[in-house]
């Protein structure tokens, strides 16, 4: 960590909240606060912030909208959505538009929030997306990336193939075992997965995978309009895009295009994977998985390695007892 203290911008329409956040974070960070969402966007555009913490429900502009604008204007800032209102649309938006790092519910736990902001700050500082990398057309790669679809439905396979067009090869895995096989034998750029694969909790599955394949860009398709699941998918799985069922072809295509573009960025600048860092989940140790080293701090050590085929997907295998 550099000597310069990370800068954090907090936006909430309630002055009580922003004062609390200031007291909470000012020991470690340079905290700037505002109760005006529009001013927040202007501030983030004008000045450099490592982390932006935004409330969801504000007059004039939602938190997702604030974060989306800040992502466009200042992609370097890590984004955290803070809300007491588990509105599903807000959660979908926070993934697909805001590309948030974490979703924090009000009321928060002081230590947990400090830790998440710290994590975000260090992940954000570890790699800063440069403008060139953001432009997908800059480099032309001859290899066709591979999309792994984990879903038992043929219809989804057709949809994904159609969405991928000639940009990528689509491999269809009908279950987790097949999926692990593909991940171990091939370079997989993007994984498109159904949220309910067998009995396994999707958030945990993706969490276990991402800790070994941090560069794997994930798109989750789900029928379950379960806010809690989606929150865990972000916080533990750092999924890149979320596609609700019934799948609309347009949204799926946009999501896959964005995921492929993200994959190209990560290929060019592998350090960027730290921006999608995930942490071991609480119950891991019970299963003998938590001891896997190299996760601390914030999984950055592993994260620097680009995804490569041939390495076993050991955490997930161990969890499943295979």
């Amino acid at each position: 960590m550099t000597a310069v203290r990370p800068r954090v911008l907090c936006v909430d329409d309630d002055p009580g909240i922003v004062r609390s956040l200031t007291w909470l974070l000012r020991q470690e960070f340079d905290v700037v606060t505002t109760t005006d969402p529009t001013a927040a966007v202007a501030l983030a555009t004008r000045e450099r912030f490592d982390v932006v913490v935004s409330d969801q429900r504000m007059p004039v502009m939602t938190g997702v909208e604030v974060l989306r604008r800040i992502r466009e204007a200042a992609p370097a800032a890590m984004r955290i959505l803070l809300t007491g209102y588990s509105e599903l649309d807000a959660i979908f938006g926070s993934i697909n538009d805001g590309e948030v790092f974490r979703f924090v519910t009000k009321p928060w736990d002081n230590d947990e929030l400090r830790r998440i902001v710290r994590l975000a700050a260090s992940a954000g500082r570890a790699a800063v997306p440069d403008d060139a990398a953001s432009r997908p057309a800059a480099v032309r790669d001859d290899r066709r990336p591979r999309i792994l679809l984990v879903d038992d439905s043929v219809r989804t396979y057709d949809l994904v193939r159609e969405a991928a067009g000639d940009r990528a090869t689509v491999t269809h895995a009908r279950n987790l075992r097949e999926a692990i096989g593909v991940l171990e034998s091939d370079d997989v750029a993007v994984m498109v997965t159904e949220a309910g694969i067998g009995e396994m909790d999707a958030a945990r599955m993706i969490n276990l995978l991402k800790r070994e394949r941090p560069g794997l860009v994930t798109v989750v398709i789900t029928e379950a309009r379960d806010a809690d699941l989606v929150i865990r998918l972000i916080n533990h799985g750092q999924i890149y895009r979320f596609v609700p069922k019934p799948v609309r072809a347009g949204l799926l295509r946009l999501s896959i295009e964005a995921a492929l573009a993200r994959h190209r960025q990560l290929e060019r600048n592998p350090a960027l994977v730290s921006r999608h860092a995930v942490e071991p989940l609480g119950a891991d140790s019970r299963w003998g998985v938590g001891q896997v080293p190299a996760m601390a701090p914030a999984g950055l050590a592993v994260a620097r390695e680009p995804p490569r085929a041939g390495r076993p997907v050991s955490l997930l295998r161990r969890w499943l007892g295979w």
Binding site: G16, I17, S20, W23, L24, V60, P107
Partner: protein, 517 residues
């Protein structure tokens, strides 16, 4: 008032059955009697022929000729051949014939088995005229007393026939009138008639019994369906209420969550801060004690244990002003929470009587406060309230109406927009407008918008009962609810009547307040 199926069925059936029984009995009697008269007439024709064959040429024809020129009185005085009586009596014995009369063509009674009737002029009698022109005619009569061959009989039904007597060559030469007793036949007919009626009544009774069972069953099914429908309706209305309540609760939960969030955070930090203050406060207290005992400005203090503490505890000592500000914020948070509770209580008004004298503006401010908590970002509510007199109403129900209208208005707005809640005093009443600058309501939707179950949010929430219930409530208050809409301006207007002696407007309210804060 519900339709009393069984009751109406029974009444209609009974009336119909009585009519059917009466008509059937009457028809039977008519037909039978007519038939009896016809039969009896045929008998009389036969009898006449017998009389004519045996007696006309030899007895009556000469008698008619002989008496042709006698006056009525003379005719009556003229002796009747006793052998004639005997002959006629002989012919009639054993039959039901009671009496025989003979007329000449002029209508004079030339013979009657009742002697005193001889000489009567029957020229004008319709029966005689009919027989005179060739066709027999009969009629049924009831006589309380009648002199028959064998004396006077009483209470008899008789059929009397006028029968022409044709001479050789078919020429009508005279007319017979024959009376027959049909009392036994009529009695038989009457007995049968009662039997028919009785049978019909029994059959119809059985039919009624069967139909009654069917109808009662049908009525039971109808009642059950009605009850079920009513229940379903109540359930839907209830779920509408619950949906509204759910939305409100979600909004309230959010509203509560904000102060809870910073109060919890502040509490945590204050505990941390107070722990960090422990040593500094003790040190300060020690210093104060020393200062109290000191006799000079300069005192030597041994730092002793404080130095290692200071070396290890590098975290900045929290400023008292910060801790105080945290506590003040918490106090503010508590104020926010109690404001919410007051508004919730005001909104439901469960602790008040149902009908109360109520200032609508108070309800409107309250509704706006509640509605704001669940309102999408980007919607601004503007209060434009004029002082209003209090009116007797059900505040809880009207609150429900206004909350529904304000929520609908907010939902009609995509992105950013404004909802204006306006209250006005009008001639004879009060008016509340809820106006939005949202997408507007198409005319075909507008026409049906107050119908129960009409919803444009198919499936996606909304029972289609909100506005229907609103209309019921407003109409129960004697008011009207109307809507006007063009894209960009939709106004729902609730007009409520004002009783003749209205209270004066509550003072000090009503300036337009923009509601962004």
């Amino acid at each position: 008032m519900r339709f009393q199926l069984v009751r109406y069925f029974t009444a209609t059936s009974l009336v119909a059955f009585i009519i059917v029984a009466v008509v059937l009995g009457y028809a039977y009697r008519e037909v039978s009697t007519r038939r009896l008269v016809e039969l009896q007439e045929a008998n009389h024709v036969t009898l006449t022929r017998q009389f004519a064959n045996t007696l006309w040429a030899g007895t009556f024809a000469p008698h008619v000729e002989a008496t042709a020129n006698l006056s009525k009185d003379a005719l009556a005085q003229a002796a009747v051949d006793a052998s004639l009586d005997a002959k006629i009596l002989g012919l009639m014995r054993g039959t039901s014939t009671f009496k025989v009369k003979v007329f000449d063509l002029a209508g004079r009674t030339v013979y009657s088995s009742e002697r005193k009737q001889i000489g009567e002029d029957k020229r004008a009698n319709a029966g005689f005229r009919s027989a005179r022109s060739g066709s027999p005619s009969s009629e049924l009569t009831h006589r309380d007393s009648f002199s028959a061959f064998e004396g006077v009989v009483e209470d008899r039904d008789l059929i009397s026939s006028y029968v022409p007597v044709a001479g050789p060559g078919g020429r009508i030469e005279g007319v017979f009138e024959i009376y027959s007793d049909v009392t036994p036949f009529l009695d038989a007919i009457e007995r049968t008639q009662w039997q028919v009626v009785g049978l019909v009544v029994i059959l119809l009774g059985a039919l009624y019994g069967a139909l009654y069972l069917i109808v009662r069953r049908a009525d039971g099914i109808l009642r059950r369906q009605e009850a079920e429908q009513e229940q379903a309706q109540q359930r839907v209305a209830q779920s509408e209420k619950m949906a509204g309540l759910g939305q409100m609760v979600a909004g309230v939960a959010h509203q509560l969550n904000t102060p809870i969030a910073f109060m919890k955070s502040n509490t945590g930090m204050m505990i941390e801060g107070l722990q960090q203050l422990d040593v500094p406060v003790r040190v300060g207290r020690g210093l104060i004690g020393i200062a109290r005992q000191a006799t000079t400005d300069d005192v030597q203090v041994g730092l002793g244990a404080l130095r290692p503490w200071a070396a290890t505890n590098t975290a900045p000592v929290p400023a008292i002003t910060d801790l105080k500000q945290m506590a003040e914020d918490m106090l503010g948070g508590l104020d926010q929470m109690s404001e919410l509770v007051v508004n919730l209580r005001e909104f439901t008004r469960l602790d008040r009587s149902r009908i109360a004298s109520f200032d609508l503006n108070r309800g409107l401010r309250n509704v706006i406060y509640i509605a704001r908590s669940s309102m999408p970002t980007g919607v601004t509510v503007v209060e434009d309230l004029e002082p209003l007199p209090s009116i007797a109403c059900n505040p809880s129900q009207l609150n429900q109406v206004f909350l529904n209208l304000v929520n609908n208005a907010a939902q009609a707005i995509e992105g950013t927009g404004t909802v204006v809640v306006r209250s006005r005093r009008e001639a004879g009443g009060l008016r509340v407008d809820v106006e939005d600058d949202g997408r507007g309501i198409p005319a075909e939707v507008r026409e049906r918008i107050f119908e129960p179950y009409f919803t444009t949010r198919g499936g996606a929430g909304g029972t289609g009962l909100g506005l229907s219930i609103a209309r019921d409530i407003v109409e129960a208050h004697g008011g009207r609810i109307t809507v006007t809409s063009v894209p960009g301006q939709t106004v729902f207007t609730v007009s409520l009547p004002l009783p003749a002696r209205a209270a004066e407007p509550a003072p000090g309210v009503g300036e337009a307040v923009p509601a962004g804060a």
